[in-house]
């Protein structure tokens, strides 16, 4: 059962990713990305990361994708869609990525010594969300606060950059 679900979600993820990378129309690309993100969300659920599953769907699929679609609507992309979609370097790029892939494959072949053995299962003892909350507010309180700062900066930056410069009266 787990395996079937894994392969299903993995297929959705990869297919969505491929669609993102290959579709001509940016809206289709965005839809492909949504599929891919949903697939990843499914994988999270499969690994008992319930909170992350929710975050992925709400934040990513809900928030980021809307942002993307919004910009796509803002910028008229009809001309862009009619242009050549791939940069001229695509054969080199593919070759390079394929080389990376091969190298990783060879690395794996040379004997993946693997990870240290897994400890006793106690992942979600006391509930996933509670444990994450514990960890987030106790161990990772500093990055948590810092992340809010990061979002503030992102907002300030995005607003500043996207806004038109006021013309002096």
């Amino acid at each position: 059962m787990d395996a079937a679900l894994f392969y299903t979600f993995a297929a959705i993820t990869l297919a969505g990713a491929l669609a993102t990378v290959t579709r001509r129309n940016p809206v289709h690309c965005a839809l492909g990305l949504i599929f891919s993100l949903l697939g990843v969300a499914g994988l999270f659920l499969l690994q008992a990361a319930e909170l992350l599953f929710a975050v992925q769907i709400l934040l990513y699929v809900g928030g980021v994708m809307v942002l993307f679609l919004f910009v796509i609507m803002l910028i008229h992309l009809e001309q862009a869609a009619r242009l050549r979609q791939y940069s001229r370097q695509w054969p080199v790029a593919l070759a390079a990525l394929f080389a990376v892939f091969l190298e990783i494959y060879v690395l794996a072949q040379s004997g993946l010594p693997g990870l240290p053995p897994s400890p006793q299962p106690r992942l979600n003892a006391g509930g996933n969300t509670e444990r994450i909350a514990d960890s987030l507010f106790y161990v990772y309180a500093l990055p948590f606060e810092a992340a809010s700062l990061l979002l503030l900066i992102a907002i300030v930056g995005a607003v500043w950059l996207a806004r038109k410069k006021e013309q002096p009266q």
Partner: protein, 597 residues
Amino acid sequence: MVNLVANFWWIPLYPLFGAAIIAFIRRGASVIAPLMVALSFIHGLIVYSSPRGGTLDHTLTQWMPGLPFRFAADDLSLLMVLIVSGIGLLIHIYSIGYMAKEPGFWRYFACLNLFVFFMLLLVLASNLAVLFAGWEGVGLASYLLIGFHHDRPTVNRNANKAFLYNRAGDAGFLLGTLILLSIAGNVEFSTINKLPASGLTLAAALLLALGATGKSAQLPLFVWLPDAMVGPTPVSALIHAATMVTAGIYLFARLAPFLAANPDAGLVIAILGAATSLIAATIAAVEHDIKRILAYSTVSQLGLMFLAAGLGATEAAMFHVTTHAFFKALLFLTAGNIIHALHGEQDIRYMGGLRDKMPWTFRLMTLAALSLAGFPGLAGFFSKDAILVAALKYPVFFAIALSVSFLTGAYSSRMLWAVFFGTYQRDAHEAHGNMLHTLWPLAIGSALAGYFGPHGELAWGVMLTSALVSLSGLYFGRSLRIPVVLKQLFARRWFINDAYEAVLVHAVTRKGARAANWFDSNLVDLIPHVPSSATTTLGLLLGWFDRFVVDGLVRLTAALFSLSSYPLRLVQSGRIQHYALAMVLTLALTLGWYLLA
């Protein structure tokens, strides 16, 4: 009353203040600049003549680990102080007249003062690091002064060339210093001179020698000096004859015990010096540009000093540094008078007959040239003699030194004949004022400095040989002028300027002419021509080698650097995805490298 002797480290500071003040107020340079150098000279004289009792030293600050910013003064460095500030003073005064009409008068003097500061810093250093600070500084000042007339076309290129050559040497110097530092923990001269010899010290000595070849214009880095002659003539006299170029020899003298402990390095230095000396002398014998003749002559004399220093005779080398400073500065300054009088003409073929027009210049230059050639009794004779004595142990070196001595006489007299005798071609007038008065001290030095040198037991045999060789050089030098051929060369002067191959062709032509005349000439007449024509040809060949091979290599290197700049820039295409691809390629290549390694 301040203790001037204990505060000997003030000596370099006067010209530094001078440079700063001139750069700041931009007027009064003709008073401030010489005054400041005069203060250095007086201070140096006071310290030199006072009883000191060993080496003075003064630590300004602890600079870096193992590197205090320390000054030291002993007889050797004070002698250099006197040479630098004394000759520097004369040349400052001379420059007031020479540069009077130049725009950027104050800039010239600021740079000149700056140079004197760095040179004094160099000679008063107590360790290699402080010496290096001065070493780099004189290179910088020299660069600025060579490029003084930056609006002339070749000037920038030549200034850059001088700079690059010096830097190539400096890289060696720096590495040598670092090796010594890593061995000894500091680079005080006193420490280095006590280091036991090892493979690393040998390497360090060779690297330092490389640095010295850059600064002192020796093989393989000697070709910048003739090109540096595009700078104002007083600059050539001060920097490229009397002071900066002797920094390499000064370094060897400082490190004499260290070199003695690493005799292989000394031998390399001697070989380089001997080879340079011979090559440069032969080139000087065929040059036509008066400043370039003097430049090659300087290279040749520096080669002799290298030879002596390499063989351990640092006293002889320093003696020659001293006498050379006098007569070469005098030669350059008199040449400057001539160039000034002829409105910038530097080609000796366009001079001639100036004896009557410029009588004092004629007398002074003759004195200097005779001293250079080693005319018995003049300063150059004694110092060259000391070098010959030092070279006596090695027959090859002795023979080379003798040949150089002969050639020196030959090109000196050739130059004198070409400039002062023969037909009078141009209107000229004698120099006056500062440009003449400042020459007197130099003339006295050129004549008499030899009697104050370090005299060991007199080697009469060597002295006699040397005198004979010099005199014969002087005598035969006149016959280096071959009127028929020279007229041909006049006709096609532009040809030489453009490509030296043409000159080679002329050399062949000249040989042809010589062959035709062979039977007409009687044997007695011919004999002196054999060595001279052989030398001429050799000189031309070496000149060709210099211009096309050595110079070509340098240009090639420079061009390669510039050229390699373009592909590196072209990779920077401005396209985001090319950049991202470069990142991925790096990842792929590093992964692959680790897989294969």
